[in-house]
């Protein structure tokens, strides 16, 4: 009789990619099963854009916004969409698997957990990019003008910002495993805090000085600031939180360090849940 000895091999790169792609396909298939959701989320963006545009115009003497205001609002909104999507989708998906009762089974499979986590947000990035582009175009039409400078650099910075928010997403997923249902309220609260301290819909200059100091402690705030300042061509007073070079360094370090830190936190929470046997609990 031959005993079967379990192997503890690390998955190869091809296997990791295959897991990633299988998960992306699964997420896209689920998405395609709810066409009403799909259309509704698209229309919702247009309405949010219209609401904030009309709100902004009540403070305009000419009925049109200046180039700087358009840049601040439009690019801030784009950043808000990207950041909030990446920030809480991973945690939300983990929670969903937990409620559905499939999370435990997923952990019993030899598939890469990292690929499965990343895949939960990858398909949304394509969708959010499309929404961002369209909403930027609509806002440009409604507000009058929109400055577009240093596009290559801005996209590069966006990649680092997204990588960093992926890391925060992992950390939130870890929190979800720990606090379960209470994570929803926490995510909502963090989203509100980010809306204000990240100055997504207005310049940082509108915040009181003490609040600006708190903003300076949040890396994503630098992301918003440098992304829009770069696209606006660094007009006088921009970026607002720190000099250009300093903000670029902060964003790059954030993009490199945060995913590692976030994933480490996630693995810790995951190990804790497995030891306690609470992966399937919700």
């Amino acid at each position: 009789m031959t005993a079967i000895t379990p192997t503890h091999q690390k998955p190869t790169n091809a296997q990791v990619f295959s897991t990633f792609w299988a998960m992306v396909r699964k997420e896209l298939t689920v998405l395609s099963r709810y066409p009403v959701d799909f259309i509704a989320s698209f229309v919702q963006i247009f309405i949010i854009v219209a609401i904030f545009t009309l709100a902004g115009l009540t403070f305009s003497e000419t009925g049109q916004a200046s180039e700087a205001t358009s840049g601040v609002v439009v690019y801030g909104f784009v950043m808000f969409m990207f950041v909030s999507d990446t920030l809480w989708t991973i945690g939300f998906n983990v929670r969903h698997e937990q409620v559905q009762g499939t999370l435990e089974q997923l952990y019993l499979s030899p598939a890469s957990k990292f690929a499965s986590l990343i895949a939960r947000v990858a398909h949304l990035l394509i969708w959010t990019s499309l929404l961002s582009l369209t909403s930027a175009l609509i806002m440009r039409a409604m507000l009058g003008s929109l400055p577009v400078n240093n596009l290559g650099l801005a996209l590069g910075l966006l990649a680092f910002i997204l990588s960093g928010t992926f890391g925060i997403g992992f950390a939130f997923a870890a929190l979800t495993l720990r606090v379960k249902e209470a994570a929803n309220s926490l995510v909502n609260m963090f989203q509100f805090v980010f809306m204000i301290l990240g100055a997504c819909f207005f310049p940082f200059g509108a915040l009181p000085e003490w609040m600006r100091w708190i903003s300076r402690l949040i890396p994503t705030a630098y992301g918003v600031d440098i992304f829009r300042s770069t696209l606006m061509g660094y007009p006088a007073g921009f970026p607002e939180l720190a000099p250009v070079n300093v903000e670029i360094v902060i964003v790059v370090v954030f993009g490199l360090v945060m995913p590692v830190l976030g994933y480490w936190l996630f693995r810790g929470a995951e190990r804790h849940a497995r030891e306690k046997g609470s992966l399937g609990e919700f």
């Binding site: 509704a40 009540t58 403070f59 305009s60 609002v73 926490l186 509100f192 819909f201 207005f202």
Partner: protein, 290 residues
Amino acid sequence: MTAISLPARKPGKASPATLVSATFATVRARLLIVSRYKGQLFNEILTPIVLAAMPILLGRATAGDRAAEVFLANTGTANYVGFMLIGSATFVIVSNAFWHIANWLRWEMETGTLESIYLTPTHRVFVAAGTGIYSTSRSTVGAFVAYLIGSAIMGINPFQGDLLIAFLFILCGLIPLFGMTLFYGALVLKLKEANAMLNLMQWVVNFLMGVFFPITVMPAAAQLVAKLFPPTWMTNGVRSAMLGVGYFFGEWYLDLAVLWFFMLAAPMLGIWAFKKIENSVRRNEGVGQF
């Protein structure tokens, strides 16, 4: 052997006292559940303040020292902080009314108790009414506290203008609002997983109510649609009473009369739509399916 005597009432019929008791039992149960989630209650107070803060800060950044002056020229009041806070607080009441009814139905569906509610002698309208009372009390108190805190943070006097008339507009606006929530309920019964649709509706409501701007800045067709929506009259009534932005018909009692009309029409339309969908669902897949 003693025979058990049954009450004279027809089997399956509940007494009025039982119905009232069921309604308040629902209110108590809902309040008890939400008291377990203190974070949610905190968010509920935070939401209107954050929502109002965004256009306020944007306005200050755009118009600088002349923000009040420019806002006065565009809206009829210089108190843009009060305008936005009233808008966002009313929006939270309206949005919660829709969400609480929709979530209640969806929750009962998912936990498998909706069908049981249909089988109890207490008519489901009384359970729904309990959810409505719970939603009104939770949202109104939350919105009021948020308005007070927001006013304190942003340095305005929260008690200005004709408070009694403002209160009347809120009171009269709540009845058509809950009539309209039945449309939402019908949507959930029909579509089941209607979260995205409800999210969208939330922003449509925000747009139509003119939460951050007077509806006069919208195109004529959109203004007409907005005026068919009772919360628009409620929001404008409260703002006019407190900030003097101007009633749609010039006088408070004329605008209030329109709300009175909605008080009759909206619940009737809501009940009609809900019953129609409900009957169709019961005839087909049944209310237990999700």
